[in-house]
């Protein structure tokens, strides 16, 4: 039979044993362990002297006895501008200034390779990409305008909304493309602007008759053709094409 160790018996006394049932069962059948356990119980039944009863007002007297040397805390107003904090803040500012100066010097010293690559060609590519998108939307609007003129009744509001959205963009592009550098594009955008103005600023809801009138007066078929040609030009993968070549169309 495996007897319980003294440590196990002490743990059992304090109800800290891992397997309480096993210990209890063992104690019932093992007189030797039971005797040791009884000794532990007897030992721990000997109590130390209890603290003497304190007179009423003990807490108050205790406070009075220690109160004098205690300095009141200063209201917890945080001192943000203590010397260590100021030094730290100064060091941070200095590091920031050095980093900024170093950065700007380095920027100046390094070759402007990216600038060189991005300047004219890249800009042109971006402009063409945006312009192509604008022409695409305008082409779709003109196609819808053509269809609307063939159908009876009022024209869908979305046509006017789209025209209003295209109008400010078109104005910007027209101003950007000067008549000198690209007269065909400039003329087409100017023509488009007038059509867009007419559609966007129509006071009432557009009817198919109104659309037919606009088509007729402003020659939108011709404009549509021009735009298709210009789109084909702007969407070409080779951006080096001289825009003046478009004039031969």
């Amino acid at each position: 039979m495996n007897h319980l160790t003294e440590e196990q018996l002490v743990a059992h006394y304090f109800a800290e044993d891992a397997n309480r049932v096993v210990s209890e069962t063992h104690l019932r059948i093992c007189s030797r362990c039971e005797q040791v356990y009884e000794e532990i119980c007897n030992t721990l039944a000997v109590r130390a002297p209890e603290p003497p009863a304190l007179k009423p007002g003990y807490g108050k007297r205790l406070w009075q006895s220690i109160e004098a040397p205690l300095q009141p805390y200063k209201a917890t107003k945080r001192h943000y501008f203590t010397w260590p904090r100021l030094v730290l803040a100064g060091a941070c500012l200095l590091a920031l200034a050095v980093a900024f100066l170093g950065g700007s010097l380095w920027q100046r010293a390094r070759p402007r390779s990216s600038e060189a690559t991005t300047s004219p060609q890249a800009k042109e590519r971006v402009v063409l990409l945006i312009l192509n998108d604008h022409l695409d939307r305008s082409e779709r609007l003109l196609v819808e305008l053509n269809h609307s003129s063939m159908e009876a009744g009022d024209v869908d509001d979305s046509l006017q909304t789209e025209a209003r959205q295209l109008l400010p963009d078109n104005r910007l592009y027209r101003e950007a493309v000067s008549a000198k550098t690209d007269p065909i594009m400039s003329a087409a955008l100017d023509h488009l602007e007038r059509v867009l103005l007419e559609v966007a600023n129509s006071p009432d809801r557009l009817s198919s008759a109104d659309v037919a009138r606009i088509e007729h007066e402003m020659n939108t078929d011709s404009l549509l053709f021009q735009i298709r040609v210009l789109r084909a030009r702007t969407s070409r993968p080779e951006p080096k094409v001289d825009s003046r070549k478009g004039a031969s169309i």
């Binding site: 000997v46 603290p51 220690i66 109160e67 209201a75």
Partner: protein, 215 residues
């Protein structure tokens, strides 16, 4: 056998069980008082002293077994508590915090006693504060003599314990703290706390068992 056998000792244990778990209302109130103290209201600390003073005295006395030393420990604990209050973690429980300070103060007194080889005040039997509680019935001269011998041996065993063993023993057996609470209070691992309690019980048993055999 003179001593009364304790069959269900666990039921007698919780002298101070739950001591480290003060109720939420008191805890919130303590927090408010601490904020007051830190805002410059010194008197608010007086309320905390009045509220926790008796508990501190009780534990100090049980560890040190001397009324005068216990009084000093309580004063020292509250003074230290006041000075360290700015570093008090607002999420913690003030009762537990000051309790630990008191235990540490008691530990220092024990260490000082050992270092100086001082004879504790209660080394000699003090009839007034005789803590032996084994008398069952008539207290004849023989019984009184035995009680005196038991107390003498109990006290001697306490003195033989190391500071950690003594603290762990008092906190576990008399204050009724759990092993984890003792470990946290003494800043040791739970296993070390358990071992300290065991060694303390072992020393106490070796000191007292001859009396059971004799009687």
């Amino acid at each position: 056998m003179a001593a009364k056998t304790v069959k269900n000792p666990q039921k007698k244990l919780p002298n101070g069980r739950g001591l480290l778990r003060s109720n939420t209302g008191m805890r919130n109130s303590d927090q408010a008082l601490i904020r007051g103290v830190l805002a410059g209201d010194k008197e608010a600390y007086g309320v905390l002293v009045e509220r926790h003073g008796e508990n501190m005295f009780r534990v100090a006395f049980r560890i040190i077994e001397s009324e005068a030393d216990a009084q000093e420990i309580v004063q020292e604990a509250f003074l230290r508590g006041y000075r360290s209050l700015a570093g008090f973690d607002a999420r913690a429980d003030f009762g537990t915090w000051i309790y630990r300070i008191a235990v540490n103060c008691a530990l220092q007194v024990l260490q000082k006693r050992k270092a100086e080889g001082a004879v504790p005040i209660t080394e000699e039997y003090d009839e007034e504060h005789s803590g032996v509680q084994l008398s069952d019935g008539g207290a004849g001269p023989e019984r009184l003599l035995l009680d005196r011998e038991i107390e003498h041996r109990r006290h001697a065993a306490m003195e033989k314990m190391t500071e950690d063993e003594r603290l762990a023993f008092v906190l576990r057996h008399i204050e009724g703290l759990s092993t984890e609470e003792i470990a946290a209070t003494l800043d040791v691992t739970p296993n070390n706390a358990r071992q300290a309690v065991f060694r303390a019980v072992q020393k106490m048993r070796r000191s007292l068992t001859p009396l059971w055999v004799k009687s």
